[in-house]
């Protein structure tokens, strides 16, 4: 079978790419890494840190102090070892996705494993940021690890990794509630047979306490490392206050570039609350399948995150692979796919026309981010629709299934 060669081929291709000079061309690319995930800024922060200059003083470094400590001690900073490390992280993330799939299916291995792994590894939205050494790769890995441990019922590890994911990137806090619900129930698909949440919610209190304890411990560790609380406004605060208006494929940057000064704080509040407002409704509606709720919320993040890079929608799209039961019911899969096919070449093209060639202006790139936003939104709507529609099942051709 051809499928058994896909995985080794993916491995070979990914390893080969990281030894080419491709990363040199991608490191400045603003679709692949944002100010919060750029490897360039991380290296600058490490340089400043090593020269006894507070890296959080000047808006240069917006990475978590965890990255700073790891890369100044254990992990390499030069290009080639970094490329290898990032590729290894991608493999670990792909493996976690496979483990989540196995836990959902309650099997120890399946024929679909290599397909799922290669859908993660060969997803260009994920492979390119990884080649550009964007730390979004680590963010995605920590999210998938958290979901994996939660699916396998390893409470403390899951909560610890979730706390780490939140520490690395504060918007990941959206999946904290689904992870806890997942720990209380099981990852098995209940989409076809919805049920009331089977466990008393009071049992989540110790989980929440444990999560908070890990988070506080990590916060204190970071503060000790840096020596002050200054990292909080620079890292977490950046996702809320949007101090750096560097273009990215998301919806925030141009909105707040063009925002009237006296409305800025109001709309910052609206945009931040808008992200959080999805958590409860999605978790209530998908209380029978918290893993699916986490998937939907990752789709929300991949559309509306403050500093969006292509790795965020990439994670959401690759996760479609572990929910084959919804595939027949996707609402407009062709439209979504075409929108993505449309947005993917437009983004780098218009970015280049605006910033390098000077033949286009900012509106060109803004328009292509709108197309990507539409594509991500359509994917999200597909997922929500299909997740709910699965419960109806197949109907006779003379019936049409609609919402009232």
């Amino acid at each position: 079978m051809a499928s058994q060669y896909v995985f080794p081929a993916a491995v070979a291709a990914r390893i080969f790419l990281c030894f080419t000079s491709l990363p040199e061309y991608l490191k400045y690319d603003q679709q692949l890494s944002t100010p919060l995930t750029s490897h360039l800024r991380l290296q600058e922060g490490i340089f400043l840190y090593k020269h006894d200059i507070d890296p959080y003083a000047g808006g240069t470094l917006r990475h978590s102090p965890l990255f700073l400590s790891l890369f100044t001690t254990l992990l390499p900073t030069s290009r080639l070892p970094c490329s290898v490390l990032w590729t290894l992280c991608d493999f670990a993330a792909a493996y976690s996705l496979v483990r989540i799939w196995r836990a959902r299916q309650r099997v120890s291995s399946s024929s679909r494993d290599s397909l799922i792994a290669s859908l993660y590894l060969l997803n260009p939205y994920l492979a390119l940021p990884s080649l550009a050494l964007s730390t979004a790769t680590f963010d995605n890995l920590s999210v998938l690890l958290a979901l994996m441990f939660a699916s396998e019922g390893r409470t403390s590890l899951a909560l610890l990794v979730t706390a780490t994911a939140t520490q690395l990137s504060i918007p990941s806090a959206l999946i904290v509630l689904p992870v806890m619900l997942l720990l209380l129930t099981d990852p098995v698909s209940h989409l076809a047979v919805p049920r009331i949440f089977p466990v008393k919610l009071s049992r989540a209190i110790p989980l929440a306490t444990e999560y908070l304890a890990y988070s506080v411990a990590l916060m204190l560790a970071c503060t000790t490392l840096v020596g002050s609380w200054r990292w909080i406004p620079e890292t977490w605060g950046a996702s809320i206050m949007l101090p750096d208006l560097t273009p990215n494929p998301g919806l925030w940057w141009y909105f707040f570039t063009e925002m009237f000064d006296h409305f800025r704080s109001f709309f910052l509040m609206v945009f931040s609350i808008h992200l959080v407002i999805y958590i409860m409704p999605v978790c209530i509606k998908f209380q029978h399948d918290p893993l699916y709720a986490a998937f939907i919320l990752l789709g929300v993040l991949g559309t509306f995150k403050a500093y969006l890079s292509l790795a965020d929608p990439g994670l959401f799209l690759s996760m479609f692979a572990i929910f084959p039961e919804v595939h027949p019911y996707l609402r407009h899969p062709i439209v979504t796919a075409l929108l993505h096919l449309h947005a993917a070449p437009l983004l780098p093209l218009f970015h280049h026309l605006w910033l390098s060639e000077g033949t286009g202006n900012a509106n060109f790139y803004y328009a292509s981010t709108l197309v990507l936003g539409l594509a991500n939104g359509a994917g999200l709507l597909d997922a929500v629709w299909a997740g709910l529609r699965t419960a109806i099942g197949d109907v006779e051709p003379k019936y049409e299934v609609v919402q009232e």
Binding site: Y28, L40, Q43, E44, I46, F47, L48, H51, I53, A57, G58, G59, T60, P243, D244, L245, T246, P247, L251, W253, Y254, F255, F256, T257, E258, M259, F260, D261, H274, Y278, P281, V282, T303, F304, W354, L355, S356, G358, N361, A362, N363, L370, G373, L374, G377, L380, L381, V384, L388, R389, A391, I392, V395, K398, Y399, E400, V401, V402, Q403, E404
Partner: protein, 629 residues
């Protein structure tokens, strides 16, 4: 000229307000301390004009108007918060401009340097800015400001040394930053310059590059000492300390409205003496022109005699007589040709009034009228001794019909040749490249300073130093690196300050390259005519104090390593020209459209998701109608 005129009106308004304030201030000043010496004897005024032919046919004309208030001292900063009667001495000046004196005393400024300059100073062809090519402050009395203080930074440059007695605001003192703000506003009003834009986004304290050119008076010691770890201040005994504030607005357009208040500060204005030659039509038509205000304190004893507060008003222009002569293409010059004016009468209050002319070498020339004295290659006219009227000094090259521009580049008059450029075509990132050539036969050790506004961020980890086109990095030649990252937004904004010491082997070229990111600004943060780009201030190369310890192995492997070459430093600051950085601009007409389009997309997705989450599912029988599931 419309913006010029508009600024002029604004400045006139400011001046009007200011003169109102100053009238009330002088009216309310108490009896004060009596003056032991008669005013005339206490203050002296010397003026000089130095004309220097340059190898490229141009002529540098440097005016210096020096007023000294002997025995005076800058105000004690500790007295700032106190009531007026005990706060400060009353101010009575005969020659020193009162409006400047009031500003200096109101903010207790110990040393002040203001430069309003335009054009690119060509160090290689013209040597050091200021009156003389030699960098050393000449013992001659006319050398009021050394070339070091003269500077040639393009735009409006202001720096001041201010003392803090260590008391802080709690004890009645006014903080240095508050006084800096006040000083900027007051000088902006006085000189009609946009010094208000020299705010905290451009202000820094590179004390090594801009040391005091005079002496900083010791401060009274009634306050508790303050521990001071930063290198940007100089202790002044008794717990007080001095701090520098420096800011440069590279985009300042120097114009007539700056010269008019400048001339007003002269005792004889433009009516008599050398000030007569300050013709705005000609000065601002020069290839390079600069106005400078330099105030410093000279300590009693030593070379300064009795000491006192010294004010030097300096004006310099680099004129091109070849261009002014039209089709004659002659580099002969005269007052009439350069300034379109003559010295009509002598300034009666001047102690000395002299014109120095550097005479050309190896060429036949005639200089009229006959100089009072010729010393070496310098002719001197004493306008007071001659009691001359309608003086028109002129210099003619006798055997030269047309000036031939030198075909070969003459040897550089500057110890260093500096080039600085921005590389890269992207509006998102670029690279700053600096090349420094040592023109001397000895190794040179020099300080390097970049003060860049937060529009650009240097990625310091990409800093590489190479020597003479050799690809191997030689980062060991760059030492003592200090860096202050830029602070873009929020409560604390400030420029990035990069300072380092460079060691350059003899006759070698050092190349520095560092990548940088360009900022994306909010649409309200862009200046008018945003597509033009932003001016970045030039880099500064400044003399370093040489000690053998810090000058170490940097040059061990340099060319002449077998010779024990003694390192030198440069004698004056070298400013590179400004750079223009191209920042990405949003579409300024789009705010409403963007708000509408983005909000539509967000509400579309939000609405659809919540629709799906809340509505019931139904089966529709396509033949009959609704059938609820």
């Amino acid at each position: 000229m419309t913006p010029c005129a508009f600024r002029l009106t604004k400045c006139l308004l400011a001046l009007g307000l200011f003169s109102l304030a100053s009238t009330s201030a002088s009216a309310s000043s108490g009896p004060g301390q009596g003056h032991a010496a008669p005013i005339q004897a206490r203050e002296t005024f010397d003026e000089s004009l130095t004309l220097r032919p340059l190898p490229d046919g141009r002529v540098s004309a440097a005016f210096e108007f020096k007023t000294v208030v002997r025995g005076a001292r800058p105000r004690e900063p500790g007295s700032l918060g106190r009531a007026r009667e005990e706060g400060d001495v009353s101010q009575h000046y005969a020659l020193f401009p009162l409006e400047l004196g009031q500003i200096l005393r109101a903010h207790a400024v110990a040393e002040l340097h203001l430069g309003l300059r335009a054009g690119k100073w060509d160090y290689d062809a013209w040597g050091a800015p200021g009156a003389w090519t030699t960098a050393d402050p000449s013992p001659e009395p006319h050398a009021g400001v050394g070339a070091g203080a003269a500077g040639a930074a393009t735009g409006a440059e202001l720096y001041a040394w201010m003392g803090d007695a260590g008391g802080g605001e709690g004890e009645g003192g006014v903080s240095i930053d508050d006084r800096w703000t006040g000083l900027r506003s007051a000088l902006a009003g006085l000189f009609c310059a946009s010094l208000e834009s020299l705010d905290e986004r451009r202000t820094c304290a590179p004390a090594d590059a801009f040391p005091p050119s005079g002496t900083l008076p010791p401060l009274a010691s009634q306050y508790r000492p303050r521990s001071n770890a930063s290198g940007s201040s100089i202790g002044a005994g008794g717990g007080g300390y001095y701090e520098l504030r420096h800011a440069l607005q590279p985009a300042e357009h120097v114009c007539t409205e700056n010269l008019t208040p400048f001339v007003r500060l002269l005792p004889c204005k433009a009516a008599a003496g050398l000030g007569r030659l300050l013709n705005p039509q000609k000065l601002f038509g020069a290839d390079w022109h600069g106005l400078g205000v330099h105030v410093r304190w000279v300590a009693p004893g030593g070379g300064g005699g009795e000491g006192g507060v010294e004010l030097v008003l300096a004006a310099q222009g680099v004129f091109d007589p070849v261009r002014l002569s039209g089709s004659y293409r002659s580099r002969d010059w005269s007052f009439q040709r350069l300034f379109d004016r003559l010295v009509e009468a002598r300034c009666p209050v001047a102690r000395s009034s002299r014109v120095y002319v550097e005479l050309p070498q190896d060429v036949a020339y005639s200089v009229v009228p006959e100089p009072t004295k010729v010393e070496g290659a310098v002719a001197m006219y004493d306008l007071l001794a001659e009691n001359a009227e309608r003086v028109d000094v002129s210099l003619r090259y006798l055997l030269e019909k047309q000036f031939q521009y030198p075909t070969a580049r003459p040897p550089s008059l500057s110890p260093l040749t500096v080039r600085r450029a921005l590389h890269g075509t992207s509006q998102a990132h670029g690279a700053l490249a600096v090349s420094v050539t040592n023109n001397l036969d000895t190794p040179v050790r020099v300080g390097y300073l970049e003060t860049l506004p937060a529009l650009v961020t240097l990625w310091l980890h990409t800093l590489t130093v190479t020597l003479d086109g050799d690809a191997r990095p030689r980062n060991d030649l760059l030492t003592d690196l200090t860096y202050q990252p830029p602070l873009p937004h929020g409560a604390h904004t400030g420029p990035s300050v990069l300072q380092a010491a460079l060691a350059i082997p003899p006759r070698a070229t050092l190349r520095l390259s560092v990548d940088m990111g360009k900022a994306f600004l909010r649409y309200t943060e862009h200046q008018p005519d945003a597509m033009r780009g932003w001016d970045l201030p030039g880099a500064v190369f400044f003399p370093l104090a040489l000690d053998d310890k810090s000058y170490g192995a940097g040059l061990a492997s340099a060319k002449n390593s077998n010779e024990t070459a003694v390192a030198t430093t440069i004698g004056y600051r070298i400013h590179t020209p400004n750079l223009l950085v191209d920042l990405a601009t949003p579409d300024f007409s789009m705010p409403y459209n963007v708000i509408i389009l983005s909000c539509t997309l967000i509400t579309l997705i939000f609405g659809s998701v919540f629709n799906m989450l809340t509505r019931r599912w139904v089966l529709v029988d396509m033949d009959e109608g609704l059938d609820v599931e």
